[in-house]
């Protein structure tokens, strides 16, 4: 188990845990209700987090050679 893998827990905390606090219509962000903005934000952050894991995961570096 590589430590960087622990980052994968973060999207679960952000979406499943965060929804408890983000379940509101106001304030609007970019015109979106806050709950929708929150989920969209986490979709983007999830992609970024997975990119970091992918970069730091030795499994991908070995195969590239």
């Amino acid at each position: 188990m590589k430590p960087v893998y622990l980052l994968a827990v973060v999207p679960f905390l952000g979406i499943l845990g965060g929804i408890v606090f983000a379940n509101r219509v106001e304030p609007y962000v970019f015109g979106l209700p806050f709950i929708l903005f929150w989920i969209v934000l986490w979709v983007i952050l999830t992609s970024a987090i997975m990119a970091i894991i992918y970069r730091l995961d030795p499994a991908n570096r070995e195969e590239r050679q």
Partner: protein
């Protein structure tokens, strides 16, 4: 026949024609073509992959739920995202094992891992129970809605669903096991342009913009855009997203597609990009929300009509025809794949388990014969179900996710779960889901001592916990005679 219906009929004819072509000539493997992307621009490849996630479920069901339920519809945006996180580790592990043991189907995987033919049959039956009455039915329901609406009411929805079932059956029978990759490409391009156009244009036309639209909805229905205090509340959201994220790759067709990858790094790379494709769903939500104040009064499973009803209000019949045609393809392509998978699983993984001496030819012929029968059963369910498209798929997920514990345990080295535990767990999970569904009750009603905050938890998750418990306990209890029977 009006112009809208005519356009839809033309697209159906083209899809069937392409199916015939695909059968004759060599057909292109969409997976390699889109994922590899050699020779095509990045933008084009992105669009193709984004189009993939549009099925009737998202197109009509997603907009329908945004219209009917509001905030709870956002779960659709969330679960795929978490499923892709899991896929980073799950899919390479499945792929490696399947490659080493030359496996071809989901059933094979369980048979090989647990060394039990019977478990393979059980898994196949659960998968078909999950697919036909929900996933396949919702595609037929979508087809029925499209044909009925495009006929401007002259064709009843039951007859329209029958036409839809017949169309899918003919499509599958003609194009055979491999349907045309080109139909899928046309579908992706059409549905993507239609969804983006509708999602941007309709809020602008009726409200002056997306932001203004949300403000007006909030003024008319305060709190509708967030999760309500009861029913589809926060505990429901969390349990449902978790259930569907875990079940994402448990469908026989998605599980089977894992095997086709060239190497395991593909999965890890996809886990980085695929979450972003989910954002295309925003446009579908916008359409459903735009319909709230423009075509009010749709209730029950009629909410799935919202996208098309609003289109009829906003556009000329020819454009309604094009939108309907896009919808037709989103139901036809996945619908045919589901119908084919169900028939193949029943024939290859269930029938052959009982008749091991049956020839390859006989098994294939049986699969073909099963196609119209399964379509008829699905039509029966379609006509008799008052559920919305989203609720239909959630029911399917409650069933199919029951395969998750046995799968996950099997991937660990020194797995202590045996075939008895795996089978008992799956059976208990499926029975709980069936009971709660048939009795039309909720977890809060069955277990009244639970705190009210847990009353609306998704039944699938409760069944999954019971499944997990039974899997572990039965495995431990049967440990001794399991070891004697099959020394490992």
């Amino acid at each position: 026949m009006n112009i809208a219906l005519l356009i839809i009929a033309v697209f159906l004819a083209v899809a069937i024609f392409l199916g015939i072509q695909a059968r004759r000539g060599r057909d292109m493997d969409l997976e390699q073509w889109a994922v590899g992307g050699r020779g095509f621009g990045t933008l084009f490849v992105f669009l193709l992959l984004a189009g993939e996630i549009y099925t009737t479920f998202t197109f009509l069901g997603g907009s329908g739920w945004a219209y009917g339920e509001g905030g709870p519809a956002f779960y659709i945006l969330s679960y795929g995202c978490l499923a892709y996180v899991i896929s980073y580790w799950l899919l390479p592990a499945i792929w490696r094992y399947a490659k080493k043991h030359r496996l071809h189907s989901q059933s094979d995987f369980f048979v090989s891992k647990y060394n039990s033919q019977a478990l393979g049959v059980l898994v196949s039956i659960v998968a078909v129970i999950a697919m036909v009455p929900s996933y396949l039915v919702l595609q037929l329901k979508g087809l029925g809605i499209i044909v009925s609406i495009a006929s401007y009411g002259t064709i009843s929805s039951n007859v329209a669903a029958l036409i839809g079932a017949a169309a899918v059956t003919v499509y599958v029978m003609i194009s055979g096991i491999r349907s045309s990759a080109w139909t899928a490409v046309i579908k992706d391009i059409m549905v993507l342009s239609v969804a983006i156009f509708l999602g941007l244009y309709l809020p602008f036309k009726f409200y002056g913009g997306v932001g203004d639209m949300f403000r007006q909805i909030q003024a008319h229905k305060p709190g509708f855009l967030a999760l309500p205090g009861t029913g589809y509340d926060v505990p429901w959201f969390i349990s449902t997203v978790l259930l569907t994220a875990l079940g994402f790759y448990m469908w026989p067709h998605t599980f089977g597609s894992i095997f086709s990858a060239r190497n395991e790094r593909v999965f890890r790379r996809n886990a980085v990009y695929l979450p972003l494709y989910q954002l295309i769903l925003l446009f579908v939500f916008f359409v459903g929300f735009a319909a709230i104040l423009q075509v009010p009064g749709l209730t029950g499973d009629k909410v799935d009509l919202s996208l098309l009803k609003l289109s009829i209000k906003a556009f000329d019949p020819w454009l309604v025809g094009l939108i309907g045609a896009a919808g037709l393809l989103t139901a036809l392509v996945p619908g045919s794949m589901l119908l084919m998978t169900s028939a193949t699983v029943l024939s290859k993984n269930v029938y052959r388990a009982f008749a091991p001496s049956a020839s390859e030819q006989r098994v294939n012929r049986l699969a073909k014969i099963l196609v119209p029968f399964i379509a008829a059963v699905a039509w029966y369910f379609t006509v008799n179900s008052g559920k919305t498209i989203v609720l239909l798929l959630l029911l399917g997920y409650s069933f199919v996710t029951q395969l998750f514990p046995a799968l996950i345990f099997s991937l660990f080295p020194n797995n202590f779960v045996n075939k008895w535990g795996a089978a008992a767990g799956i059976i208990v999970g499926v029975i709980i889901v069936t009971y709660v569904t048939v009795a039309q009750t909720t977890i809060g009603q069955i277990l009244p001592f639970l705190p009210t905050s847990l009353a609306d938890v998704n039944v699938g998750i409760v069944a999954l916990l019971a499944n997990l418990l039974v899997t572990v306990l039965v495995s431990l209890a049967t440990r001794s005679f399991g070891a004697k029977e099959q020394p490992a």
